[in-house]
């Protein structure tokens, strides 16, 4: 056991940092630290730079065009990028559908889809949840009926993040209605430009548009877009969800969040000094800081098991549970640090690059919206209640 970094790892971290400083646009970086919303370009320009360097699909094995990094390198890469204010890599291509394709897809499918994911030339979105199938995902009803060499897809997906930016969507669809819920599901890739695909925005409580309803009306999908076997899509679905849960803890972003919170506390006035001199408040920061450290060590323990050849087990659910609670708490404390000036609603400051001067300090406009928005983290990717059920069943045997 050793927490210290070897020389080659230090050199690697320096390389990542230098790359980020060179390639990350200052405007994007500023949005990260002030908590503003990114637009499509913020993500795409950055991801394409990573793609060119061969780092976008950093969790992939060499054989599929990944850098083939060890666990320490991945850890350093994620942390350095977070420290440098890079936006998180949108997971739908590189962390979700990519690994599904290289694990379950045919060679033709790998050749066709993986390069676009690695380079971020193609952006993906996820068609999982439906109005009646949220936590109970297997209850989904979107139908795909085989007709010659096509499927005809009808139904509705919801909570689809960034569908309005997406070129392709990967969907869970029902191909057999006669069998048990999990057994009649297939995993299908659909070009968003196909006639019959309609995207409708869902506006969130902070006024943001991230998620959408996606309506599928007699959409013709070639059978070669089926991943794995027909009716065996649930296997892909579970594989993907387990992958998702690992990164979803967002430890590097939370570490950055704690350090930003400390900066805000140092700048917020209170009784002639600053909030950083208020022991009640700094104790709360210390508490969340310790929670982040505990989560990081838990994640490192999982990664270390994986480095020894183990697979992440159902216990990664606890990482997701704690990770989301921590992100929420950081957003809550940040809002509290801002205090009364969290009350003005300034959508211009949040969503557009207006020249408006903020009301209150620069960090004030996103504080409350972010707190509201972060409530989603304990709901998406399998709600906290679902994760606890997974741990209770699969880990504790209850």
């Amino acid at each position: 056991m050793d927490l210290a970094l070897k020389a080659e790892h230090k050199a690697f971290a320096d390389e990542v940092r230098a790359f980020a400083r060179e390639n990350l646009s200052p405007a994007t970086r500023e949005k990260t630290f002030s908590g503003k919303h990114y637009d499509r370009d913020d993500h795409m320009v950055w991801q394409q730079a990573l793609g060119k360097k061969g780092w976008l699909a950093y969790t992939w094995p060499k054989k599929y065009g990944g850098p083939g990094w060890d666990v320490t390198q991945r850890f350093l890469f994620e942390n350095v990028l977070a420290e440098e204010g890079a936006p998180r890599i949108l997971p739908f291509g590189p962390k979700m559908v990519g690994p599904v394709i290289y694990t379950f897809g045919t060679d033709e499918q790998k050749e066709r889809f993986l390069p676009g994911i690695r380079s971020s030339e193609v952006s993906w979105c996820q068609g999982y949840s439906e109005p009646g199938a949220g936590s109970d995902l297997a209850n989904l009803r979107t139908r795909a009926v085989r007709e010659g060499d096509h499927y005809i897809v009808n139904g509705q997906k919801t909570w689809t993040s960034f569908a309005h930016w997406g070129d392709w969507i990967f969907c869970l669809v029902r191909t057999n209605t006669e069998v048990k819920a999990q057994e009649g599901i297939s995993f299908l890739l659909i070009d968003m430009k196909t006639p019959g695909v309609t995207v409708r925005p869902i506006i969130m409580t902070d006024g943001a548009h991230h998620v959408n309803d996606v309506f599928l009306d007699n959409v013709k999908v070639p059978v070669e877009n089926l991943i794995g076997k027909e009716n065996e899509g649930w296997t892909c679905a579970k594989f993907l969800l387990a992958n998702e849960r690992l990164g979803i803890a967002e430890v590097p972003a939370s570490k950055r969040g704690v350090s930003v919170l400390r900066q805000i506390a140092r700048s917020e006035p209170q009784n002639g000094s600053t909030l950083a001199d208020d022991p009640a408040f700094t104790a709360q920061i210390a508490d969340i800081d310790l929670q982040v450290q505990a989560l990081e060590m838990s994640e490192l323990r999982v990664l270390s098991t994986m480095a020894q050849g183990g697979a992440p087990g159902p216990e990664v659910s606890t990482l997701k549970v704690r990770g989301s609670e921590i992100q929420q708490r950081i957003a809550e404390l940040t809002m509290e640090a801002v205090g009364e000036y969290a009350q003005p609603y300034q959508p211009g400051m949040l969503f557009q690059d207006t020249n408006e001067t903020p009301i209150g300090p620069d960090h004030a406009p996103p504080a409350a919206p972010r707190y509201f928005n972060m409530r989603k983290t304990s709901i998406y990717g399998g709600s906290t209640e679902i994760q606890k059920n997974i741990v209770s069943k699969m880990v504790l045997g209850l």
């Binding site: 949840s129 009646g132 199938a133 949220g134 936590s135 109970d136 209850n139 919801t158 909570w159 869902i202 506006i203 969130m204 409580t205 006024g207 998620v211 917020e268 006035p269 209170q270 009784n271 002639g272 909030l275 009640a280 408040f281 709360q284 809002m335 509290e336 205090g339 009364e340 000036y341 969290a342 009350q343 003005p344 609603y345 300034q346 009301i359 209150g360 409350a368 919206p369 707190y371 509201f372 928005n373 409530r375 989603k376 304990s378 709901i379 998406y380 709600s383 906290t384 209640e385 606890k388």
Partner: protein
């Protein structure tokens, strides 16, 4: 000791309930929030006709002789409907300060028309550096002939866009954060030298940043005694806190009811999700939290007129701590139990959640009032 409502109070509750039912369906509220003013003059006139604008003032002041219990009853119903009309800044704060510190002439000129629905107020106390310290005021008022000249900045002034008069807390003597040396001025909202930046708040109310550039007012603009405003402000803010607590209690009732309904109807895994014990217990915790919030609001409403200033302050802070805690619990739980729907703009839940969150930030959050309560209790 008797904690039951009188017949008149029951009628008041019924009337407020009826108003919210008729005028504040969620869709209606959305429309009201989207108007330029952010509230409806016809509703305000109705408040005047129903006597709500004057109910908590003494008959001597032209009111109807009620008190904090009446305010509590109405504010609670307002909370259920997320009512947008500026009752708190105008009646509870503005009216409250004029009633407690105003001269006969000021009451006649301002309070009487307010009760008739013809005047609205805003209370400007906060500055960028103030956080929750009511005495952290640097906007300066200097003598200018017989009157005064005001210069400085005020922030997050609720209802400033609609107010006829701004009640401004200014420093006339003493050093920064000294309670002594503060003076209240009643300033015409259109006075020369005031510039305003208006905006909505997270919860769809209206507020402004105000800049005062050598704003001249007469000697008669002083509300109460020069340099002695602090106790008046503290008392008024404590009353406003108790009124906010009542509003929060109403919000919690509504958000709990909506969540209960949702978990009874939303089906997953073939059953309503309310059949899952983990959600049942969380729902029970929500109701227990709302009960405690109601209890503390009642306590504070009963004690806010106490002769002893410490008792009043402790009551307000104690209730605010509870409301902060319960409001956060109910709000966060409601969103969680609604799943993704809870974070959308479409359902009422997120709007109650936002209001509850903002109430915690107004006039001192949970931590601030815990500290204040603790210091008061230790000094006693």
């Amino acid at each position: 000791m008797d904690l039951s409502l009188s017949d008149e109070q029951k009628q008041l509750k019924d009337a407020a309930e009826r108003f919210v039912r008729d005028k504040y369906t969620f869709e209606n509220r959305r429309k009201i929030a989207a108007t330029e003013r952010g509230w409806l003059p016809e509703n305000w006139s109705q408040f005047a006709e129903l006597g709500w604008l004057g109910m908590s003032f003494s008959e001597e002041d032209g009111g109807y002789g009620g008190g904090p219990i009446e305010t509590m009853i109405v504010m609670e119903e307002f909370g259920k409907g997320l009512v947008l009309e500026p009752f708190l800044p105008t009646v509870v704060l503005g009216g409250g300060m004029i009633a407690s510190a105003g001269t006969k002439a000021q009451k006649e000129a301002l309070l009487a028309p307010m009760i008739e629905g013809k005047k609205q107020f805003a209370f400007a106390w906060l500055e960028r550096q103030s956080r929750y310290n009511l005495a952290d005021v640097s906007l300066k008022a200097t003598k200018e002939g017989a009157g005064w000249s005001l210069s400085g900045h005020k922030g997050v002034v609720y209802n400033a866009p609609s107010a006829d008069h701004i009640i401004v807390l200014a420093r006339t003597a003493g050093s920064a954060r000294e309670p002594k040396g503060l003076t209240l001025f009643i300033v015409d909202a259109k006075a020369k030298g005031i510039s305003r930046r208006d905006y909505p708040t997270q919860d769809a109310l209206r507020a402004s940043e105000l800049t005062f550039d050598k704003v001249s007012v007469g000697a008669d603009a002083v509300l109460g005694k020069v340099d002695e405003a602090f106790p008046v402000v503290e008392g008024a803010v404590d009353r406003a806190i108790v009124a906010l607590c009542a509003e929060a209690t109403g919000c919690m009732d509504a958000i709990n009811a909506a969540t209960l309904e949702y978990i009874k109807t939303r089906k997953q895994f073939g059953v309503p999700i309310g059949k899952f014990q983990v959600l049942q217990h969380r729902m029970v915790d929500c109701f227990t939290n709302a009960q405690e919030a109601r209890s503390m609001t009642l306590m504070a409403s009963l004690k806010i007129d106490d002769k002893d200033a410490t008792v009043r302050a402790k009551a307000a802070s104690g209730a605010k701590v509870q409301i902060g805690k319960s409001g956060k619990f109910c709000g966060q739980s409601a969103v969680q139990m609604h799943g993704g729907m809870g974070v959308t703009d479409e359902l009422s839940v997120s709007h109650y959640f936002k209001r509850l969150t903002m109430i915690d930030l107004m006039f001192g959050n949970q931590q601030h009032h815990l500290t204040r309560y603790s210091n008061l209790a230790m000094a006693a």
